[in-house]
């Protein structure tokens, strides 16, 4: 059994991005989705700081400290890209103009509830950023995350225990072990990594799982973690 690494999870999510979509990518694994988009999928990546059409990281000789994304990465702008102020940027998000946002998560519940903004660490302040706007208002919310915590605790749960980001918002979850859709009846496994049995996955999951009749093998090309 070979779980996907974090970049392979990003690769897998990227395969589901369709032509011409307007996509927002969260900090962490999600930003790497941009690296694996099919060249023929003409995608605009929106960043909450107002960048519409975020391109790859700037090469060292082309860094511009004013051209950054919401994660403070020095980026480039794709052809046809533009920049708006924060009120317009979130009008775009809250107004339902983002086709899909791909977010990291601490926990996802069987009803689609998402917890991804506050781990309640001692001595650490909260950081909500644009997560609540994106989770509540994007047309589709996909989560990319590892299937369990480092301690082996499940992140897919009957109900989240950490503070919620938004309710009933997650439509699909990509993990190192599976691709899971969230439908009104609960979680449906669409793809499962080779060598893992449904029972194995259930043991790592804190919510009931249905398995799609056409459940496939979750595969990704080899990608070395940078």
């Amino acid at each position: 059994m070979q779980p996907l690494n974090r970049l392979q999870i990003a690769w897998r999510a990227a395969q589901d991005i369709e032509d011409g979509m307007l996509v927002n990518l969260g900090i962490g694994i999600p930003v790497h989705v941009a690296d694996y988009l099919r060249p023929e999928a003409d995608v605009f990546i929106q960043s909450e700081n107002g960048v519409i059409g975020a391109g790859p990281l700037a090469p060292p000789d082309r860094i511009d400290t004013d051209l950054v994304d919401a994660g403070s990465r020095r980026i480039t702008l794709r052809p046809g890209g533009s920049i708006v102020d924060s009120a317009w940027s979130f009008a775009m998000i809250r107004g339902g103009h983002i086709d899909v946002t791909i977010l990291g998560a601490f926990q996802v519940a069987a009803n689609g509830d998402l917890a991804n903004w506050d781990m309640r660490l001692p001595d650490k302040g909260p950081l909500v950023g644009g997560a609540m706007d994106l989770a509540a208002c994007a047309r589709a919310v996909w989560v990319v995350m590892e299937h369990t915590t480092r301690q082996g605790e499940p992140r897919l749960l009957e109900a989240c225990t950490l503070p919620l980001t938004a309710v009933r918002c997650v439509r699909r979850v990509y993990t190192d072990l599976a691709v899971i859709d969230i439908v009104p009846a609960g979680m449906v496994v669409r793809e499962l990594v080779d060598g893992m049995s449904p029972a194995d996955l259930e043991a790592r999951t804190g919510a009931p799982l249905a398995f799609a009749p056409d459940c496939r093998e979750l595969t990704a090309p080899p990608i070395a973690m940078g």
Binding site: N49, G50, D66, L67, S72, D85, V128, A136
Partner: protein, 223 residues
Amino acid sequence: MSIDKRAGSAAEALADVPDGATVLISGFGGAGFPNVLIRALRDRAPKALTLVVNSATHRYSLTHELIEAGLVRKVVCTAARGRDNEPSPFERLWVEGRIKLECVPQGTFAERIRAGGAGIPAFYTPVGVGTELAGGKERRTFEGRDYILEPAIKGDLALVRADAADRYGNLAFRYAQMNFGPVMAMAARVAVAEVRAVLSEPMPHDRVQLPGTFVDRVVAVGA
């Protein structure tokens, strides 16, 4: 007497900031931080400030210097978590109960500030419904979906970073510098902009991204 919003220095532009002021500070994602103005404000040292700023802990912003100097009573922000394991200056004071925090989702943050400048006292938003950040807020259903009521934010002072200005206070931004600058300038009684350069001629109309009618003072600070 013709309009001239050019101030001689950051210190001069901030000479009248009183104790207890609510100060809106632009900047996000590493761009648009008015760091020259922030430092001048620290030197002026008004007490018991309320800061309205996207992040209380961003590593490229000097906001933390105002906090470390003990000038800040409360922070309204979207991000208050430092990057390091060790607590940031904000987190240290916050854990000790010596500074107040209002954590706001970022779109609500931008929209509340815009509302403050646009004469809207409150609006409904779907963001935050069902989360602890909706605690105590009025909830209401429109066409089958739940929303919460959010109040406007206004400021006594806005500190904004832009690329260029003219004597009329017109501003042009570079790339992602813009972020909260326009709405913060609009929502503050006095808006001060630091810019790379003040043009000697009026800015061409199609280069203006924020009309000078929203800007009170500009200071050239170089790159």
